[in-house]
């Protein structure tokens, strides 16, 4: 194309009187005809009307045009229409330039016809300067490997995997633990429906196991990811052995973990101070000691204490547990308290499980004894207190539960961040020392057990995974979606999706919502079988590039990688063509097709033509 003589056609639109009323369109068209390389120029009442389009088609054929400029309204709405006409006439649609003389000329300069006309001429001159330098672009399609990788075997990951598998796509499910189920396995019963957590999740695990489209790997993790949407070469470490595969999309569902409230409120200092998850384990295993009173302290470590955010679910969980305690306390007691109802090993296991968790975190073998059930005399009714900053029982049903808890005489005591409650041991009694904000006085409360409501925090290996996948993490270490409102389960990088608590604290319902959303987003390229690559991508000149990596770092789409020779390469399938890399490249080795430096500068210079030097 570059060898050919440039023959430009300019079509100026009156847009009824929208343009014609304020700009001397015939004069503009006449001026356009006088510009170098312009082989044809005309004006029409409505260029976008069928006859206007036909005239373009004919002119391309009759005058052998190989570049087209339409001067009318805005490319944002009308460019596709004219581009289609060009293609119909056998002209590559990228050899077309749109000049906006309506929205950005006639309509905004309605009282200055002469100047508006001059401006319209200038704009067309700029368009002509630009179109002269344009080159045909190919839009390529890139095949998609119809297979998905889901990272994380918790409720989110399993749900995504099942959904994708039900769409008929093979799914690789990677779980780092020895079993599926994730965090939910720790929980007792679930709020709202009150069902046992394990009973809820077990059927899901069963369905995953049974699904032929799902290959689940336990004790495994992702160690390497190369490629881009539709074509990821992944390397897994399964039981320490490397395993390679190829997938088209990746869903991150790595979940979250519990914050450990070291040195807060006597945790690990006093026996009956437990974290929320530990409490759930006790309840789940029916290993609660006999107690008279229990206190829940909310927002331990969150909302500005250590983590800045609210963990969203803890208030509702605390209410659930309060209600459990009020209504069903006896069913959760350990053996000594209830006779022979529960078998000893289960009971022992609960405390072992807890201390084992604690030991693991500390990284040393605990010297403390296993898990002797704490001794406390049972009473008729349990006194339940929830120390809170605000009760965030959002939504319809949770608020009802909140009301119910109050009816059950659960006490809600508000504290402020300036006056945090303190947990001490006085004699053999746990004491919560707190500031009563309503009474404006310091008070003490004897309790038998304190439950610390700790937030969910990001997985410690999230950073590594984010680097592997070239997707970002937010401030708090959770994965950061492409857009908080409109693209909640996408990453900016095409082909990678996120759901569940990997993104932020969420409850099971929300996780499942997101998981299904992620599955349906991920299914799109899989179902289509190809990705339409952006034609207007960045292009690297490998002879100039030295591989400094600056472009790689600024690209929000992870669309640049290094070749074996160490120079940058644009992943066409992932590039969105914003041009950031080109403007950044310290070597000037990257240009953006269709918006090259030369083209932009030609356009700008055309605007300034006539400036006296």
């Amino acid at each position: 194309m570059s060898d050919e003589n440039v023959r430009i056609g300019v079509f100026v639109c009156h847009c009824g009187t929208n343009i014609g009323g304020f700009v001397d369109v015939p004069a503009v068209a006449k001026y356009a005809a006088s510009l170098p390389d312009v082989a044809f120029a005309s004006d029409s009442l409505y260029t976008c009307a069928e006859n206007g389009l036909a005239s373009i088609r004919d002119a391309i054929k009759d005058h052998g045009l190989n570049r087209v400029v339409v001067a009318s309204c805005t490319p944002r709405t009308h460019a596709p229409l004219f581009q289609a006409v060009c293609e119909e006439a056998g002209l590559n649609k990228y050899l077309f330039t749109f000049v906006n003389i309506r929205e950005q000329c006639s309509w905004v300069h309605m009282k200055e016809k002469e100047k508006a006309t001059e401006k319209a001429k200038d704009l067309i001159r700029m368009g002509v300067a630009r179109v002269r330098l344009l080159q045909a672009q190919e839009e390529s399609r890139i095949a998609v490997e119809p297979k998905a990788l889901v990272i994380g075997g918790g409720i989110s990951g399993m749900t995504t995997a099942l959904s994708l598998a039900d769409h008929g796509f093979p799914v690789i499910l990677v779980e780092k633990d020895g079993e599926l189920g994730g965090f939910v396995r720790n929980l007792n019963n679930l709020y709202l429906d009150g069902k046992d957590a394990v009973e809820t999740i077990n059927p899901v695990i069963g369905r995953v196991r049974a699904n032929r489209n799902i290959t689940a790997f336990l004790n495994s993790r992702v160690v390497k990811v190369d490629g881009f949407i539709g074509n990821y070469d992944i390397t897994l470490s399964v039981d320490g052995r490397e395993k390679k595969d190829k997938v088209g999309v990746i869903v991150v569902a790595t979940g979250a973990m519990e914050y450990v409230p070291y040195s807060l409120y006597g945790y690990e200092q006093f026996e009956h101070v437990v974290s929320l998850t530990e409490f759930e384990i006790l309840c789940k295993n029916k290993a609660l000691p006999k107690i008279h009173s229990i206190a829940f302290i909310q927002c331990v470590g969150s909302r500005g204490q250590d983590k800045s955010y609210c963990s969203r679910i803890c208030c509702n969980v605390a209410i659930k547990n309060a209600l459990n305690c009020a209504e069903n306390y006896k069913n959760m007691l350990g053996r000594e308290e209830t006779g022979a109802e529960v078998k000893a090993p289960v009971e022992m296991k609960a405390w072992e499980e807890i201390s084992e968790r604690r030991r693991r975190r500390r990284g040393r073998r605990g010297e403390e004894e296993g898990g002797e059930a704490p001794q406390a005399a049972p009473t008729e009714a349990l006194e339940i207190t929830i120390f809170n900053r605000d009760v965030m029982a959002y939504g319809v049903d949770h608020e009802l539960n909140y009301n119910k808890a109050r009816e059950e005489h659960v006490r809600f005591v508000r504290y402020t961040p300036e006056n945090l409650p303190k947990v001490n041991m006085e004699g053999d009694k746990l004491v919560v020392d707190y500031w009563h904000d309503t009474l404006k006085m310091q008070r003490k409360m004897n309790v038998d057990m304190v439950v610390l409501s700790t937030p969910l925090i990001s997985q410690p290996d999230a950073k590594d995974l984010s680097k592997l996948l070239k997707v970002p993490l937010g401030q708090d270490g959770f994965f950061l979606e492409a857009h908080v409102k409109l693209r909640p389960v996408d990453f900016a990088t095409d082909g990678v999706y996120v759901c569940g608590t990997a993104k932020a604290p969420a409850d099971i319902t929300e996780c499942v919502d997101q998981a299904l959303a992620a599955a349906s987003r991920a299914a799109i390229p899989l179902a289509r079988g190809y990705v339409q690559a952006e034609a207007l991508t960045a292009k690297v000149n490998p002879d100039i590039c030295t591989g400094c990596g600056t472009c790689e770092a600024v690209c929000p789409y992870g669309a640049i990688r290094k070749t074996e020779k160490g120079v940058a390469e644009v992943i066409v399938a992932a590039c969105k063509g914003c041009g950031c890399c080109g403007a950044t490249c310290p070597e000037g080795a990257i240009d953006q097709s269709h918006y090259t430096d030369v083209q932009l500068l030609a356009e700008a210079k055309a605007a300034l033509e006539g400036v006296v030097h």
């Binding site: 805005t74 490319p75 944002r76 906006n100 309506r102 929205e103 950005q104 000329c105 006639s106 309509w107 905004v108 300069h109 309605m110 009282k111 200055e112 100047k115 508006a116 001059e118 401006k119 200038d122 704009l123 700029m126 492409a482 900016a492 207007l536 400094c548 600056t550 472009c551 770092a553 600024v554 929000p556 969105k576 063509g577 914003c578 041009g579 950031c580 080109g582 403007a583 950044t584 490249c585 310290p586 070597e587 000037g588 953006q592 918006y595 430096d597 932009l600 500068l601 356009e603 700008a604 210079k605 605007a607 300034l608 400036v611 006296v612 030097h613």
Partner: protein, 257 residues
């Protein structure tokens, strides 16, 4: 001066500012005709040397319009735009051209009225500044050439491209670089590269002594000697002749022997 009609080139991002400008039209908000806009996909596309080239071509003002921070269609593009404009203004300042001739505005797709107001205001401002001195002042033009060349230098572009990462996310050591320290390094680098390129521009045609260079660049002679040392060690400048006790230097044209 009253008949002065500023020539203003606008670079508008496709998704916000260009749409905002369209909305101004659809809503018939009137503004002066002086602006000639160029549509780019993202404001981040506009690199400093490109902007300086536009000034070289004689623009009285250049406006760059992008999405509001946080709203960029390309997620983070406009953060870089902001840094680039800052660097460009610094280079304009060094060259001796009013940085106010360059304006960055965030205009969303819904801000048609604002778009009209911003353009009107900028036209007014540029009118006050008067015509660009570049077409008439060859000395300034040379300085602008030097600024443009400086904007192409690897070091400056690298620093500018890394600023957000280093001050925001953290550097190779996992530390965040103090923005003030980084700013100083960048400004310093901009000045050094500008002055070095100015010396190269000055010595392209005739050999100059350190004193003669200093007279043109406006820097002290000892600082100028440091520039000469740096340029010589990069093989961009060579000793041409010694006149009496005065060595004179000439720029090396790449590829020339």
């Amino acid at each position: 001066m009253s008949d002065f009609e500023p020539r203003i080139v606008g670079f508008l991002c496709n998704w916000c500012s260009y749409a905002g400008a369209d909305l101004a039209g659809v809503s018939r908000f009137q503004y002066p005709t002086n602006i000639r806009s160029i549509r780019v996909m993202c404001s981040t596309r506009v690199s400093p040397h490109l902007l300086l080239e536009v000034f070289k071509a004689g623009a009285d003002g250049v406006m760059v319009g992008g999405c509001h921070i946080g709203d960029c269609h390309y997620i983070t593009g406009n953060y870089y735009t902001e840094k680039r404009i800052m660097l460009t203004k610094e280079l304009l300042r060094l060259a001796g051209i009013e940085p106010d001739r360059l304006r960055l505005e965030w205009i969303s797709a819904s801000e048609g009225e604002r778009c009209a107001n911003v353009v009107a205001d900028f036209v007014k401002k540029v009118r006050e500044l008067g015509p660009s001195p570049i077409p008439r002042d060859s000395r300034l033009a040379l300085r602008l050439d030097a600024a443009t060349e400086a904007a192409k230098v690897f070091r400056l572009r690298l620093l500018s491209g890394k600023e957000i990462k280093l001050t925001g996310e953290g550097n190779a050591y996992g530390e965040k670089v103090d923005p003030e320290r980084f700013g100083n390094i960048l400004r310093n680098a901009a000045q050094e590269e500008f002055q070095r390129n100015l010396i190269l521009e000055l010595t392209k045609c005739s050999a100059l002594s350190v004193k003669e260079m200093a007279k043109e660049t406006g820097e002290a002679t000892d600082a100028t000697l440091e520039r000469v040392v740096a340029l010589r060690s990069k093989n961009l400048l060579a000793l041409s002749v010694v006149e009496g006790m005065t060595p004179k230097y000439k720029a090396i044209i790449v590829g020339g022997v």
